[in-house]
């Protein structure tokens, strides 16, 4: 059970969050212009990276904000979290240090 660093509230127990799968998959600008295959790839296909990838989380029981995270799916360890709209940080080899502040930020 991990501590997840909400970009606003700080580190919180994993049960407080809900998962949103792969990040940075924008809704198509003009769905009507897409063929069935392209549309299916938006609706059903996502990466399934075994390693570091960008994914989405939502802090469901507190600030209720969506944010992104870089996480290594092999070890489950979070590298960093960042706000939607912020650029994807470079995968920092050193995972998020155990938080200095207490669990309630």
């Amino acid at each position: 059970m991990q501590l997840i660093e909400c970009p606003w509230c700080g580190p919180r127990e994993e049960v407080e969050f809900s998962y949103g799968g792969q990040a940075h998959v924008p809704y198509p600008a003009d769905p009507a212009a897409l063929g069935d295959e392209e549309w299916a790839h938006y609706v059903f296909f996502r990466d399934n990276t075994a390693g570091v990838w960008a994914e989405r989380w939502m802090h469901a029981t507190a600030c209720r904000r969506w944010f992104n995270a870089l996480r290594d799916t092999r070890t489950h360890a979070f590298l960093t979290t960042y706000r939607p709209g912020d650029p994807v940080p470079s995968p920092d080899p050193h995972p998020t240090p155990t938080p200095e502040g207490a669990a309630n930020g």
């Binding site: 809900s18 069935d36 295959e37 059903f44 399934n48 990276t49 799916t73 092999r74």
Partner: protein, 409 residues
């Protein structure tokens, strides 16, 4: 010779397989030495006489999900296509012990899927109705029926979500996973098929729309036909081959208790009070619940899933209060958007795909092995696996086993 190591569990044979080095080429290369890969090899030899086959396993044989699942076997799935392939698998389970000449402890003790809400009851009656019309043995039992089939279930009307009844499939049950795996492996090895362990696939060699060989940690191996049976790690292989599959790999946890005197006669599953549990032959309770929400290849999950499962277990089975969790672990299950598998063609002319089984992999083992062997041997999917195409996600003709779980009004 010494009797079986534990209380009355049959002994393994004194020879299982050869551990050969990989040959430079094979007619068929199967990537993944789990239950599905071994079953495919067995049926290639048994049904089609194809034995110039290699099964490549990156770790130890049947050490992935085959060693980590909760060993449930049933075919009472809702949609016609699912019922067909799972029922075909169940019929093969019923003769597998003879076919393999191996004690797989196949026990048809029945499975109860509990209903706790009025919508559960509607969904259950619907599923039972569809099962019967698809030739699957299924019946709806009321609360008293549940108490009769499994007396330790708490059928009191006062619990948080009272049991309103259940679907019951008498022919469903459990089997001993490693006995099944070793039985399949021994038969394949006997037929001359090479089971290659510690052999990780690192890449492929291709020629246009054909794959000509696999690059592995134990050298390059050429192949006539390639079958992918890597379950949770399928995406790593398809990424290498340059085509996408709609899979997400999630941790799926399971646990066992200490050995207990027989107390749980059947298999019980519940969605609303989320846990499923059976008691294995040796006496340990074997339990599981849902996947962890996030993607993960760590073969472990978050402990709050186990705690929630324990609250459900004690709620449904008060007598389990002082049973003890002896060991917890996790597998990596590949889930598709419609919770149904993909078994069939790929963009490569000589490559076939078997994945997306999510939490249903073990029960499908003989069935999918049989179908994939047919598909590899004939180049044509069998009617049982024909609906489970990769391109169903484009047409929208899903086989949506997810859909039913909704809260009404």
């Amino acid at each position: 010779m010494s009797t079986a190591p534990a209380t009355g569990v049959p002994e393994h044979p004194s020879f299982l397989w050869r551990n050969p080095d990989p040959k430079p080429s094979y007619d068929v290369v199967i990537v993944g030495g789990g239950g599905h890969g071994l079953a495919t090899a067995h049926y290639l030899a048994k049904n089609h006489g194809i034995t110039n086959v290699a099964v490549l396993e990156k770790g130890w044989l049947a050490g992935g999900n085959m060693a980590r699942n909760t060993t449930l076997i049933r075919s009472n799935y809702l949609w016609d296509e699912s019922a067909a392939i799972y029922e075909h698998s169940l019929k093969l389970w019923e003769t597998l012990e003879e076919d393999l000449d191996y004690p797989i402890l196949f026990s048809q003790r029945g499975v109860l899927n509990l209903a706790h809400t009025l919508q559960d009851v509607r969904d259950s009656v619907r599923r039972v109705g569809a099962n019967v019309l698809n030739g699957v043995d299924a019946e709806w039992v009321d609360t008293a029926g549940v108490a009769e089939l499994c007396p330790i279930v708490n059928t009191s009307p006062d619990i948080r979500y009272p049991v309103l009844g259940a679907t019951y499939q008498p022919r469903a049950g459990i089997a001993k996973h490693d006995y099944v795996a070793w039985g399949l492996a021994r038969r394949a090895d006997e037929a001359g098929i090479d089971l290659i362990q510690d052999c990780e696939v690192l890449g492929f060699t291709t020629d246009g729309d054909r794959v000509t060989g696999v690059r592995t940690s134990r050298g390059d191996i050429a192949c006539g036909t390639l079958a992918l049976c890597a379950a949770g790690r399928t995406s790593t292989l398809t990424d290498e081959l340059g085509f996408r599959v709609p899979l997400q790999s999630h941790p799926l946890q399971a646990l066992v208790s200490e050995l207990l005197e027989p107390v749980h006669p059947t298999v019980v599953m519940s969605n609303a009070v989320h846990v499923y549990v059976s008691q294995a032959h040796k006496g340990e309770l074997v339990m599981g619940a849902g996947v962890d929400s996030y993607n993960g290849y760590g073969q472990r999950g978050s402990f709050h899933i186990v705690e929630r499962q324990m609250a459900a277990a004690v709620e449904l089975f008060p007598v389990f209060a002082r049973a003890h969790v002896l060991r917890t672990w996790g597998g990596v299950v590949d889930v598709t958007p419609d919770a149904s598998p993909i078994v069939g063609r790929t963009p490569y002319e000589n490559v076939y795909l078997n994945c997306g089984w999510g939490t249903g992999g073990f029960k499908a083992t003989p069935g999918v092995g049989w179908c994939l062997a047919h598909t590899v041997a004939t180049g044509e999917p069998h009617p049982y696996n024909a609906p489970f195409t990769l391109d169903r996600f484009v047409s929208g003709r899903l086989v949506d086993e997810h859909g039913a779980a909704a809260v009404a009004h």
